[in-house]
């Protein structure tokens, strides 16, 4: 018995496509017309607000005169430096700018052409970026981490958080799958505990409790503490992602490694983990995207990454305070571009194999 399959229609060029996708029956035809009407109305309003009636010059007087009938992009023209780079000293702005461009370029390179010595490039980039931001070397003036902010801080927190959380996550995942009950219990308890509480509570832990945990006289800056909080949080989620990858590696791989006489760590390092991480790559990318979005929460413990830097730039200025919405849209566009590009890049991982093990 043959079941009739739906005919595959090529694309919007053919009449059949239009009939099948827009006017298949009376109800759908009505829906199509309704949506078209709503889209025309909505998009023309948005177009008018965002472009036609908008004010692009940094002129607070003209912006107020618009009374929100048009967007005031002048607020971006006026405040973009503070929004993008926070409280970094104004005359040294080229440093966070270079650091940001370097990080974004290397990110793009990593996901578009993943070959060559990327690990080495990242280590080098980290050193260059930290030197650029912090200074104190090569005649660069010193700028403490408490003055870092904006987009470079968002990138540093998410990349640093990921880099720190991945090794910890791998260890926790291995621990959770261990044959040793005590090790398994410790890893499981940690993972479930952290996954059961909100990120804010871990950031509180990092910013209020960490100073109490450390021995007297040993202080940690706010940036380091927040980074530790992010790492402890992300590691629990990464552990579950890595565990998923580990479970997908065939048992015969372990047996083959055992037959070769490899020990536990050798087996994990050279046989199991390369395959597991490779399988988990799309999920790892999702975690990375989640981490980028989560860095916005560090505003709660007074670290001024992109979201915090925007509030810092606008809330103290009565002229520009009414135009927060335009500011939110601006940084939302930045977050969206980064996260959406990364999610598209991760789709490539699902379809194409990348040589991870040499």
């Amino acid at each position: 018995m043959a079941i009739a399959r739906k005919t595959v229609v090529a694309g919007p060029t053919s009449l059949a496509w239009w009939r099948e996708n827009l006017f298949p029956d009376r109800g759908n035809s009505l829906l199509t017309l309704l949506i078209v009407a709503a889209l025309v109305w909505g998009l023309s309003r948005i177009f008018d607000w965002a472009l036609i009636s908008a004010q692009f010059r940094p002129d607070a007087e003209a912006c107020r005169a618009l009374a929100h009938a048009g967007a005031c992009w002048g607020v971006i023209a006026e405040k973009h430096v503070q929004i993008l780079f926070g409280r970094y000293p104004y005359e040294e702005m080229w440093r966070p700018l270079t650091a940001t461009l370097l990080l974004l370029a290397l990110l793009a390179l990593t996901f578009l052409r993943p070959r060559g010595r990327l690990a080495a490039a990242w280590v080098l980039a980290a050193a260059v970026v930290l030197t650029l931001m912090g200074g104190g070397l090569f005649g660069l003036s010193q700028v403490g981490p408490e003055r870092w902010g904006g987009l470079p801080l968002t990138l540093l927190l998410s990349l640093g958080g990921m880099a720190g959380a991945l090794p910890l996550g791998v260890l926790l995942a291995l621990g959770r799958r261990s044959e040793l009950p005590a090790v398994r219990a410790v890893a499981s308890i940690y993972i479930e505990l952290v996954r059961g509480v909100p990120l804010v509570s871990l950031l509180f832990l990092a910013s209020f409790l960490l100073p109490l945990f450390l021995p007297q006289g040993m202080g940690l800056g706010v940036l380091a503490r927040v980074l530790i909080g992010l790492i402890l949080f992300a590691a629990a989620y990464l552990a579950e992602v890595v565990r998923g990858g580990l479970q997908a590696v065939s048992e015969t791989q372990r047996l083959a490694a055992a037959a070769l006489g490899l020990g536990y760590w050798q087996t994990q390092r050279w046989v199991i983990l390369p395959q597991a991480l490779h399988l988990a790559l799309p999920a790892l990318m999702n975690s990375f995207i989640a981490t980028i979005k989560e860095t916005s929460v560090v505003t709660v413990v007074s670290l001024y990454e992109l979201t915090g830097a925007l509030s810092l730039a606008l809330s103290g200025d009565a002229d520009w305070r009414p135009f927060f919405l335009e500011g939110y849209l601006f940084i939302a566009a930045i977050y969206w571009l980064i996260c959406f590009s990364l999610s598209r890049a991760s789709l490539r991982f699902e379809t194409r194999a990348i040589p991870l093990a040499r």
């Binding site: 949506i35 889209l39 044959e179 990120l199 209020f208 021995p215 919405l325």
Partner: protein, 324 residues
């Protein structure tokens, strides 16, 4: 010694080592903390819960007198967390299901619109969305005297949403209608802009994720099931209700549980817009009493219990579904 015995001994040593390192680390942490607290003159213990709190909470279901003990303030915080998280879960489920089904529609425009929604809302941080909603609700809406009006007795303004509530008066059910009085609005029930911002932010963000879960669940039902339903002569809607939906629901439940859990945890971002949820009240308590260890562990403990309760409830629900 046999190789099995050797392995057993090594396993024992590794485990003892793990436990010993952990115990040592914990001991050092506890000792450091005790010493630091002593040096800074911060008392410890949960006795502060019974002292009077130096703040009152404007937005709450239970009336709490100013100067009530901290435990009551924290309880109000917990109630506020649930008060925003539970409606958010219901609305997220509705909106997410609609969007997820929309993505599976035959209609190209509806499919694309729902797809665009999902991509737009899940790639922007929730905190940013909350702040934007809060700004729109408190800065761009008209002031109370020019409140927008929908129907007879629903008002929306900078001061929040006022709506009719049923009350018992003289043994009879009556509707308490909000009405304009001078420059303000009195009577009826009100939802503060803080509450609305958290609710809207959570719902619009979580629905994008929920939609993907629903879509994946429906896609995972084998095509043969739909074809079999068609062979039996069921109409499209009959097939959806009695063939596809029950199977899809079972696939959707476990990931949906995870999304409810993260929604509850995400409601802690309420602190950013000043909605007095548990985290926000605990943070104020922490700043007033200095009992950091106690307050942070209290937050964690409560959320762990909430997570556990949600998991249990959903597992119970899943089991019931499976029996039918």
């Amino acid at each position: 010694m046999s190789s099995a015995a050797k392995r057993r001994r090594r396993a024992l040593i590794y485990q003892l080592l793990t436990v010993a390192v952990l115990a040592a680390a914990l001991t050092v942490l506890v000792r450091n903390t005790a010493q630091n607290l002593r040096l800074r003159g911060i008392p410890s213990g949960f006795d502060f819960l019974f002292q009077g709190a130096g703040f009152d909470i404007g937005d709450s279901l239970i009336a709490v007198a100013a100067g009530a003990p901290y435990w009551q303030a924290l309880l109000v915080g917990l109630v506020n967390t649930l008060r925003v998280a539970l409606p958010a879960i219901v609305l997220t489920t509705l909106l997410g299901t609609a969007l997820g089904l929309g993505r599976l529609s035959r209609n190209f425009l509806l499919r694309s619109f729902c797809g665009a929604y999902v991509e737009a809302f899940r790639n922007i941080p929730l905190l940013l969305q909350l702040l934007a909603w809060y700004f729109v609700l408190t800065d761009l809406l008209p002031p109370m005297e020019d409140a927008w009006r929908a129907g007879e007795a629903i008002f929306l303004s900078k001061s929040g949403l006022a709506f009719p509530v049923p009350v018992v008066q003289g043994g009879k059910w009556m509707l308490d209608l909000p009405r304009r009085e001078g420059l303000g609005i009195s009577g009826g029930g009100t939802l503060t802009p803080e509450f609305l911002a958290v609710l809207l932010g959570l719902v619009f963000y979580s629905a994008a994720y929920f939609a993907e879960t629903v879509r994946a669940g429906f896609n995972a039902v084998p095509l043969a099931q739909k074809q079999a339903a068609a062979t039996l002569g069921l109409t499209r809607s009959q097939a959806l209700v009695s063939v596809t939906l029950p199977q899809a629901l079972r696939l959707i439940m476990p990931p949906a549980t995870n999304q409810y859990l993260s929604l509850i945890k995400n409601s802690s971002l309420a602190i950013a817009v000043g909605y007095p949820d548990l985290v926000s009240v605990a943070n104020t308590t922490l700043n007033q009493t200095g009992r950091a260890v106690e307050c942070v562990s209290l937050i964690m403990l409560v959320y762990l219990c909430l997570s556990l309760a949600t998991s249990l409830l959903m597992h119970w629900f899943e089991r019931r579904m499976a029996w039918r």
